[in-house]
């Protein structure tokens, strides 16, 4: 594209100079016009900080339209790890919070960032691994035993390593199994659940996943569900009303409608009706206490 002229080959006239100035001005006007083309949408909406498991499984795509139909409120979901979701809410960048780390959620309320926390639904964590199961966890009698067997065998285990709800639950389970993870068989990825499953599939590693992401996950390669059903693998999701005192500028009234709808009969029904490949992935339990 580069072009060169020697000064003698072409002469600049003063007319050319004027023309250049006019076209530069025209270009600027055009650019200003382009920049105003990004209009904001005007319908009422809230921003919800939530987890990758709820988004990747397709739950929100299934239930948010029902909520929007009955209230006229749209929900903008920012799906991140639970740790980052807490941080977004702490800074006042989301109107509502739906995560799965009950201990962390209760601390969030105690610290004054949220005024109320309620159970919404649950599912469970499952242990995934290569189908030939080198650690032999398929017949383990408990999750703690299974984790112990993986550590003993030295087979690779991929961990989220991102301070998400799943990562926090996994670390509690290593603790319960009396294992200090961190040797070379333990690979901390710092990734979301889906990316971690992709990596585990690539290196034939063990991995703990929430059931929803696993069922909806398409790139399984040699991976299989090897262990499930222990009570300690219970995975509770909670919704939080954020503090009006700390962040008065948030859309609390709209966010409260979302929170209350999740707990309502209609919301609980929508969650229970959601299926992927014929499997129910989330079990509503708002009335549990």
């Amino acid at each position: 594209m580069s072009h060169r002229h020697t000064p003698s080959s072409r002469r600049l006239s003063s007319m050319q100079v004027r023309r250049a100035a006019t076209s530069a001005a025209a270009a600027c006007a055009l650019m200003l016009g382009a920049s105003s083309a990004l209009a904001q949408d005007a319908a009422p909406f809230i921003t919800l900080a939530s987890t990758t498991s709820t988004q990747n499984s397709g739950l929100f795509d299934a239930i948010i339209p029902t909520f929007t139909d009955s209230t006229g409120i749209d929900v903008h979901v920012v799906a991140v790890g639970t740790g980052q979701a807490f941080e977004i809410a702490r800074r006042g960048d989301a109107d509502s919070l739906l995560v799965h780390d009950t201990a962390g959620e209760e601390a969030f309320v105690a610290d004054g960032y949220a005024s109320q926390r309620d159970d919404v639904m649950y599912n469970d964590f499952v242990l995934i691994g290569p189908s030939d199961d080198p650690a032999g966890i398929r017949d383990a009698d408990s999750a703690a035993t299974a984790f112990g067997l993986i550590a003993e065998s030295g087979a690779p285990f991929t961990s989220r390593g991102d301070d998400s709800g799943t990562n926090r639950a996994e670390l509690r389970l290593w603790d319960a199994a009396g294992v200090e993870p961190g040797s070379d068989w333990y690979r901390e990825l710092g990734s979301g659940m889906g990316a971690t499953l992709n990596t585990a599939a690539g290196m034939d590693a063990y991995v703990m996943s929430d059931r929803a992401t696993w069922v909806a996950f398409d790139n399984r390669q040699n991976l299989e569900l090897l262990f499930e059903g222990d009570d300690v693998l219970f995975n509770q999701y909670g919704s939080l009303k954020l503090s009006r005192e700390r962040h008065p500028e948030l859309k609390h009234d709209l966010a409260d409608q979302w929170h209350d709808w999740l707990l309502s009969e209609q919301g609980q029904q929508a969650i229970g009706d959601f299926e992927v490949k014929g499997q129910q992935l989330f079990f509503p339990n708002a009335d549990a206490h």
Binding site: M1, S2, P7, L12, A20, M31, S35, Q40, G92, L197
Partner: protein, 232 residues
């Protein structure tokens, strides 16, 4: 799997999938707006850097050159902290909007446009300086003249900026939040589909993105060619 990715890409394009159209149009609007704003600032800045000598000029040029390698995720994080409610511009409520994504991309594109413009204009000025001086044209008036004369090369410069803007994912993911129908663009959609393990769809989207960037480059090439012919 590559076969099914191409089939998926073809299905997406031929079927004019409405979600895909929305994502493509948002990607284009955001990146083109970012390049337009960055160009409005960077072209005069680059030309001024080429023509004026002042203390601190060399460090400024080095800084702009270095910022061409700014990791998108760092740009994204800076804009996030700036626009977050707890940040200095939090009251504007711009986080997780397309505007925030434009801001982040302007920061990524501006150093590329300014650095390359400075280089082009400096070369050109070396050739024309005497002539311009003999015509009694002031330095300020020389800026638009030289930019106009370098316009063919500057189209390539702007394409480089557009390439950077449309290809990056780290910044728009952080400041946009990848919200379905609001801030989801081609690259963040590809990340999402990859994390769902839906690799054919992810690669299909990648092929669509590549085709789109190719189309824009072809258009720019045609514009450049026709201008060149007009000049004779």
């Amino acid at each position: 799997m590559t076969d099914s990715a191409f089939a998926t890409a073809l299905d997406l394009i031929v079927g004019l999938d409405p979600d895909l159209l929305a994502i493509v149009s948002l990607s284009l609007r955001i990146s083109l707006t970012a390049v337009a704003i960055a160009a409005a600032l960077a072209l005069p800045l680059g030309a001024a850097l080429a023509l004026y000598r002042f203390p601190g000029r060399a460090p400024l040029i080095i800084a702009l050159n270095a910022l061409m390698g700014l990791p998108p995720v760092v740009a994204g994080l800076s804009v996030y902290l700036l626009l977050s409610r707890a940040g200095p511009l939090g009251s504007l409520g711009l986080l997780f909007t397309p505007t925030a994504m434009v801001v982040a991309q302007v920061i990524l594109v501006l150093p590329i446009l300014a650095s390359l413009t400075r280089q082009k204009v400096e070369e050109l000025h070396g050739e024309y300086a005497e002539q311009l001086a003999s015509m009694g044209i002031s330095r300020v008036r020389r800026i638009p003249t030289l930019l106009w004369d370098a316009r063919l090369a500057l189209i390539t410069v702007m394409l480089a900026g557009f390439g950077r803007a449309s290809a990056e994912v780290g910044a728009v993911m952080i400041v946009g939040g990848n919200i379905d129908g609001v801030t989801r663009v081609m690259t963040t959609a590809i990340v999402l589909e990859t994390s769902k393990g839906n690799l054919p769809l992810a690669l299909g989207l990648g092929i669509v993105l590549l085709a789109l960037v190719g189309l824009i480059n072809a258009l720019a090439h045609l514009i450049g060619e026709s201008t060149r012919r007009q000049l004779g």
